[in-house]
């Protein structure tokens, strides 16, 4: 699926902003996310700089041989260009969404790309979850409203966990593994400052103050995550996070009948996959250990996960041995 190729193993951080802008303007920039490759073209004067920050470790590919989707982020034409400049999102030549302000092509790209992935990658069960990896096993953080999924996912990646995706638990039912759908982590509102304080060295792109989801900024995937984006992860554990102001950390095991709907009914394409989706969800529920994590202190939450993880690995080792 992901077959973009280049003769030049340089990253976006290695090349000039002008080279990225030129790629965007001519044949497009290929963004190889692991399980999916995007071709992005744009005439936006600011997108190159934004991509250089948050996709800095990704290979710079200006001549690829395949893309799962062709995206164009273009400046709106006509009077719009002068009165209230905007950018619009085209996919495979078709206008797909309402425009964004001209200085916000990155959130439009990220939002639109997520939508496209959710629409198109139906060989995978796309759980709506943050996904990270350690010791070869995936830890899933399903998205519930106000759960703090992105904050926790981002924090884990700053403490040695490999980012697979902030948005998609991309499970390959045939292979029985999770694949990386590696994009920057979208931090919203207060979580931007939370992660800045938590990991001052983290690379975070510009803050976009007025998106539909409030303030948004994007945490770049680190180099190790990008370099290992073709490495799969076996199903490990599911944690349903819930940030609760002032709460002590609570870590409670979850039964299968709680895990199943949390995974399947929250997936992007569960219904579309029919029987395959059902079987995949049952497999995951059988294989994964599950907990609910209620927390207010991020360090304590991470310490709790870290403390439980050896048990997860051990349990899978025992299962494989038997």
């Amino acid at each position: 699926m992901s077959a973009a190729a280049s003769d030049r193993p340089r990253s976006l951080a290695d090349v000039t902003q002008g080279a990225i802008a030129e790629a965007l303007a001519v044949n497009g920039l290929w963004l190889d996310l692991g399980a999916v490759t995007l071709n992005v073209r744009s005439d936006s004067p600011v997108l190159a700089a934004q991509l250089k920050i948050v996709y800095g470790h990704y290979p710079f590919i200006d001549k690829g041989d395949w893309a799962d989707a062709h995206i164009r982020i273009m400046q709106a034409r006509g009077l719009r260009r002068w009165v209230r400049p905007q950018v619009v999102f085209y996919c495979d030549g078709r206008l797909a969404f309402d425009p964004f302000p001209a200085d916000s092509p990155l959130p439009l790209l990220e939002w639109g790309a997520n939508w496209l992935v959710a629409q198109r990658l139906n060989d995978l069960l796309l759980l709506h979850a943050g996904a990270v990896e350690r010791d070869g096993f995936a830890l899933l953080l399903p998205a519930m409203p106000g759960s703090g999924k992105s904050t926790l996912t981002a924090a884990l990646t700053q403490r040695g966990w490999r980012l697979l995706s902030d948005e998609f638990g991309a499970y390959d039912p045939e292979a029985g593994v999770f694949r990386a759908m590696l994009k920057p982590v979208a931090l919203k509102n207060a979580s931007i400052e939370v992660i800045r304080d938590f990991a001052p060295d983290a690379v975070i792109g510009p803050v976009f103050p007025k998106t539909r989801k409030g303030r948004v900024a994007h945490l770049a995937a680190n180099m190790a995550s990008v370099q290992r984006r073709y490495e799969t992860a076996r199903p490990g554990a599911v944690v349903l996070p819930q940030w609760q102001k002032g709460s002590p950390t609570r870590w409670e095991p979850l039964a299968e009948h709680v895990l199943f709907p949390a995974l399947s009914f929250n997936a992007f394409n569960y219904n579309l996959l029919g029987e395959a989706g059902f079987r995949a969800a049952i497999t995951l529920v059988r294989q994964c250990l599950g907990w609910q994590l209620i927390y207010s202190d991020l360090d304590d939450a991470l310490a709790t996960i870290d403390a439980a993880w050896p048990g997860v690995v051990e349990r899978h080792a025992q299962a494989e041995a038997s």
């Binding site: 299968e256 009948h257 029919g274 029987e275 059902f278 079987r279």
Partner: protein
């Protein structure tokens, strides 16, 4: 009495205290309690009406068929809507 058949190809799996059931007819997944899952299990053998299902469940559980009747009779609508069972046309061999 109206008879019901289990829809062909449905998948039923135990998950914790409940059961997950998938219907290829509707594409829907339902979470079932033990009682509904038991009804599907009875229908796996052959189509049945409420009384026949109650009789089987009664012999399994020791609960009197009369006590099970309302529960079984009240389950048909949901099981039908989700596509896990279907009503059979009334035949001369099984008059209502």
């Amino acid at each position: 009495m109206q008879r019901f058949a289990r829809v062909e190809g449905i998948l039923v799996e135990p998950i914790g205290h409940l059961w997950a059931a998938f219907s290829p007819a509707t594409g829907e997944t339902a979470l079932l309690n033990d009682e509904s899952a038991s009804i599907l299990e009875v229908l796996e053998i052959e189509p049945a009406d409420t009384a026949a299902v109650c009789a089987v469940l009664s012999s399994d559980s020791g609960i009197a068929p009369d006590e099970l009747f309302a529960l079984v009779d009240g389950s048909w609508q949901q099981l039908t809507e989700v596509g896990l069972v279907r009503e059979l046309p009334v035949s001369r061999n099984h008059p209502q």
